[in-house]
């Protein structure tokens, strides 16, 4: 096979792959590994939603108040030490619309597997937005409490 024939074959394979690429990303909102486009950070200035976790002493009463990022109560808690990816956690929290017992159990499983929780922790949803004064406003809402004694969901979130 000479160079021209090899190049012609490459063009054919490349075209077929490009068609598969176009079809899969078009029907999957741009996401079909490994054909995904790179839409990361394409929407500048949009509000965002992430998560963080704080640890509380057992039997501490739970407050479901929305607070600023600097005022989040409790002690720092690293999700990495539990083997959890913070981006997974953020998506788990922001994309869950119904907090039923199965979903809460899946969250507990993410942190503690099938074991009883070792700590009392609260998972916060953190939202960021650009204000009219061009400042970044960040607020945290407690969503779910996981503790050795049981789980609770913020009543407002559960509705």
């Amino acid at each position: 096979m000479n160079g021209k024939a090899l190049a012609k074959k490459a063009r054919t394979i490349g075209t077929v792959v490009l068609v598969v690429y176009a079809v899969t990303v078009a029907t999957n909102l741009g996401e079909f590994w490994p054909f995904s486009i790179y839409p990361m950070f394409s929407q500048g200035g949009n509000n965002w939603s992430r998560s963080l976790v704080r640890e509380f002493p057992e039997d501490d009463s739970t407050s479901w108040e929305v607070v600023g990022l600097a005022d989040v109560p409790g002690a720092p808690f690293s999700v990495k030490k539990m083997g959890v990816d913070p981006i997974d956690l953020a998506n788990f929290v922001s994309k869950t619309t119904i907090w039923d017992s199965v979903r809460v159990a899946a969250l507990r499983n993410m942190f503690f597997g099938s074991e009883t929780p070792l700590y009392q922790i609260v998972i916060y949803r953190v939202r960021g937005e650009l204000t009219e004064d061009h400042e970044v406003l960040v607020e945290a809402t407690p969503y779910v409490l996981l503790s050795p004694k049981g789980d609770q969901v913020n009543p407002e979130v559960q509705q």
């Binding site: 190049a7 490459a10 079909f32 200035g45 992430r50 720092p76 083997g83 913070p86 953020a90 994309k95």
Partner: protein
């Protein structure tokens, strides 16, 4: 007389007519080895993490068509990782034409099982496309040289396409004002929350402080990133490849410093692909021969 530069796309990507040299053979095998190791790393990393997933929050990609829950609640992800590893090693050793292709399909399943929690990362695209390139090379080309040349050229093409399409996504979604430095302020805060979640604390670095203190500097950071992505298709041509790859590497360093996101596999792959290692290896071998 100086030879006019060749801007033929197929020649630049695949170099099927170029005389084979030891440097090219060594370089392509190094790159293929990286793809094999990268694939194994992804298969095992995703496999281990999938063990802790028990509910699908959002099915993505393949999982939209196939109920991927059969991969959850058991050790199948680890068996799949083992199988993928064996297959890519068979492909690397040229024991059969199908191992890479089968490994590619199994890796898509592994990926769909891992990323069912709402968002997918893009850090593994380049390795995935490299694996697909070598799989197609093995399946459709008759000899070792053309197979591996196809795998490499295919990777260059889709690498350039991926980054350029990223720039186009930004311009479509946000328009020409995408590099507005306030957008970077939002992302720095967003990633700071991720860091608090990850480690419990966050301390902004010098570059982040600089960007947050000056709208102009933040805007320049984003403008550089957008331009680097927009011209990434120039990696298709040998003459411009190294400079554009260095710009993309600069983009990744910038993303790392400002947003603490490091696509480590992509960075390694860019370092391997950016430089004319084949020519350097040939020169080194020639020097050793003469000595």
């Amino acid at each position: 007389m100086r030879q006019a530069p060749n801007w033929n796309l197929m020649d630049n990507l695949f170099e099927f007519d170029r005389a084979e040299s030891s440097g090219q053979i060594i370089f392509r095998k190094i790159f293929e080895s990286f793809i094999v190791l990268g694939t194994m790393y992804l298969a095992w990393t995703w496999g281990q993490y999938t063990l802790r997933i028990s509910d699908i929050v959002l099915p993505l990609g393949l999982a939209r068509y196939v109920d991927i829950s059969f991969m959850h609640g058991n050790t199948l992800p680890l068996w799949n990782a083992g199988l993928i590893s064996v297959l890519v090693l068979l492909g690397w050793a040229r024991l059969g034409r199908w191992p890479y292709a089968i490994a590619f399909v199994l890796l898509i399943i592994q990926y769909a099982a891992r990323f069912t929690l709402g968002e997918i990362p893009h850090s593994s695209n380049l390795v995935g496309m490299g694996l697909l390139g070598f799989a197609c090379g093995q399946l459709f080309y008759p000899d070792e040289t053309s197979r591996s040349r196809f795998g490499l050229g295919f990777t260059y093409f889709f690498l350039g396409l991926a980054y350029t399409s990223a720039a186009i996504s930004k311009l479509v979604a946000s328009g020409i004002t995408w590099p507005d430095g306030r957008h970077l302020w939002m992302w720095i805060n967003e990633k700071a929350v991720d860091e608090i979640a990850r480690s419990g604390f966050v301390e902004l670095n010098f570059v982040q402080e600089l960007a947050l203190s000056s709208l102009l500097i933040a805007t320049l950071f984003l403008a550089f990133g957008l331009i680097a992505e927009l011209f990434s298709w120039l990696v298709w041509f040998r003459r411009t490849r190294m400079w554009v790859m260095l710009a993309i590497l600069g983009l990744h360093v910038g993303i790392w410093l400002t947003m603490d996101i490091l696509f480590i596999l992509s960075v390694y792959e860019l370092i391997i692909l950016a430089f004319p290692w084949d020519e350097w290896i040939d020169k080194m071998l020639e020097r050793r021969r003469r000595a």
